[in-house]
Symmetry: C2
Subunit: 393 residues, 2 copies
């Protein structure tokens, strides 16, 4: 078999990520590759670190993108901080909490599970109870923005409880960074990882991480080496460290970093608070439209992520055929349910460059049309007007 | 601090990688991002697998790019195949053999080191002796093309010895894939990893790997789970497996894969044998020019990689200032020495899109000029003519 050049179909990405990548970011990806030890590239790395500190709202020196997707960012946190035998409280209220548990086990740790409800925030009282029952626990791990359910947890509250019990926090912010408030330093989060393909709207493939001084202390005090050479932060940091004297670790993904840099520049130009307000505003309009259609949200209002709208699939409607129609007729991608929610839930993303008025109106009108064609029990003709009213409010 | 869009300087990349990325590949990177579960993307994944099978000359079903750089490809092989307590024969004749040893240790294995000379091929007889002395060894690991020294080892011979002793082979082909002969199936290699930024001339950030059926048997028979969730091939393969029913594992780096796909399409268009012949041809010309200048190679002729030309830095010449002049005056990057060779050796890459007549002549004429300015003891005026004569031969 011999292949020919790939021509991607035109899509509008409103799933759980990747989100639409802005033409400026796409153009940045295509700039000529330079060497990863070139002085100009080292300067770029410094800028990326500084821009990530801004996005994370942190002064942590150890702030940089791991050269692999968000799952590797998660593993970076666990592999560096969990030592064999460590008890780790893991809050599970969706797919990514479950994955955290798996990471603890593979690092030789003992997970203490705080079992939450899918589609709900983590309950801080349950975390406190778990820590009282397990006074030797070293770490509390939880997901700030559960991409599988659309639930937002109170990261500040959970991290504060962790500190009260002398635990570090490991926090998944894959879907929250750049989309909702996230204050790493003010909230006292210790090891935080994210992704590029959600509210930052860079392509997938990198995982921004930041580690507090407390987290680095635990890393330095390890009795056993980090089991991953590639993810060992004590080595990675020599590469991403200060100034021109970098020690070679791996070869950075040069062009992917061009893209991330441009996305971060755009975030800074817009301003973090404006970006967060934008996610909120378009969410309100989408929500008004979806509810006018008769669809209902999985997550209670005050625990809901604006950038990830999980709604119940109406009775009698075939999940896959609706998503296929949206994709084929409108080039519109929305997300399927994951794990326990497969076939039951749609996840509609409003992330980064996919969070605009035109995305909201296309989604509402296309979904309404396809659902009507599928004879779904929905209200016709009300969604777009409701969204417009929300924008006017 | 607020940054502005990055404008990379214009470079000609003749270091140990990344190599120059062809404009077709750069353009592919900038194509609009689509979802990683989009049917069109799943089709792209199938094509990438098939093209990698061609490049590796293998029918291995388990052939795909790991979503991270070559170092993670290395770790994929060790983390999946080495179990705690396993004895692993590791051939060390440069930086990357040393890194293999580190990987064995972090996986809980016991490395048995075959100590080779830097700048020389691995000696198959030493491997045989090590296996005789360690009859319980499970794996033989070695580097086919040592990027730190420019030495090529006889992968077919070493893998055959491994098989005779009922061992699997783990083979680093980061710098060999697409540049010199590499026949995974004919040579019976078991777990092979590579990089994209060398002779394939895609940007860095992905690591093609291929696993034989024998390697998969060892993976399936493991008594302990793979310590890395992200690199666990039994999970990754569900994502890169056959047909449209993929199970979600991580989010693939969509645009980086566009680039790799285009680079593989270009390799197939040229033909693997033609690409290999091209690397040989330009190496002969570069070598003629370098030797006419009075520079000498680190590696004996019959153990030399055409795509990585390691030469001794002339006495009294300051390594860093010569490389800085080349970079600043000509935009030309050549590689510094690594590890034991730091400050003593230059590594001149002729990889992929950086392997052309114009690269050879620019390198020779710029290096000659800069060395002459530095009062280095070289022969002036002979290099370009010698290269031209080699092309004419």
């Amino acid at each position: 078999m011999s292949s020919s050049s790939f021509q991607p179909p035109q899509r509008v990405l409103m799933g759980p990520g990747p989100s639409d990548v802005h033409p400026r970011v796409l153009a940045a990806l295509a700039k000529p590759t330079i060497g990863h030890l070139d002085p100009a590239f080292v300067g770029l790395m410094d800028e990326i670190k500084a821009e990530l500190q801004y996005a994370f709202q942190t002064a942590n020196e150890m702030t940089m993108p791991v050269s692999a997707p968000g799952s590797a960012g998660m593993e970076t946190c666990f592999a560096n901080l969990v030592e064999p035998g460590d008890e780790v409280v893991v809050c599970v209220n969706g797919v990514f909490g479950t994955r955290m548990k798996e990471n603890v086990i593979r690092c030789g740790g003992t997970p203490v599970i705080v079992e939450g409800e899918w589609g709900r925030a983590v309950d801080p009282d349950q975390v406190r109870d778990a820590l009282k029952a397990h006074p030797d626990a070293k770490i509390v791990a939880f997901v700030h923005a559960e991409t599988s359910t659309g639930a937002r947890s109170d990261a500040a509250a959970i991290a504060a409880i962790a500190r009260e019990h002398d635990c570090l926090s490991i926090v998944d912010t894959v879907t929250s960074l750049g989309g909702i408030e996230l204050k790493v330093d003010d909230w006292g989060l210790d090891a935080v990882y994210s992704g590029t393909q959600k509210c930052l709207s860079a392509p997938p493939g990198l995982s921004p991480v930041t580690f507090s001084a407390r987290a680095l202390e635990k890393l330095k005090a390890r009795a056993t080496p980090v089991q991953s050479w590639f993810l060992d932060l004590s080595l990675v940091m020599g590469y991403w460290g200060e100034g021109q004297q970098r020690s070679y670790h791996h070869t950075a993904p040069v062009n992917a970093l061009y893209g991330l840099h441009e996305a971060l520049v755009m975030l800074h130009e817009e301003g973090l608070e404006n970006a967060i307000a934008r996610h909120r505003r378009h969410h309100e309009a989408l929500k008004a439209g979806l509810e006018a259609m008769g669809l209902s949200y999985v997550v209670p209002q005050d625990e809901r992520l604006p950038q990830l709208n999980a709604v119940w699939i109406p009775d009698g409607v075939d999940d896959a055929s609706v998503r296929r129609r949206l994709l084929e007729d409108y080039g519109l991608e929305i997300g399927a349910g994951l794990g326990d929610f497969a076939g039951k839930v749609w996840r509609i993303g409003l992330m980064g460059a996919s969070c605009t008025k035109r995305h909201v109106l296309l989604c509402l009108s296309a979904l309404e049309t396809v659902l009507a064609e599928a004879q779904a029990p929905i209200e016709r003709g009300a969604a777009v007007e409701a969204a417009a009213a929300a924008y006017a409010a």
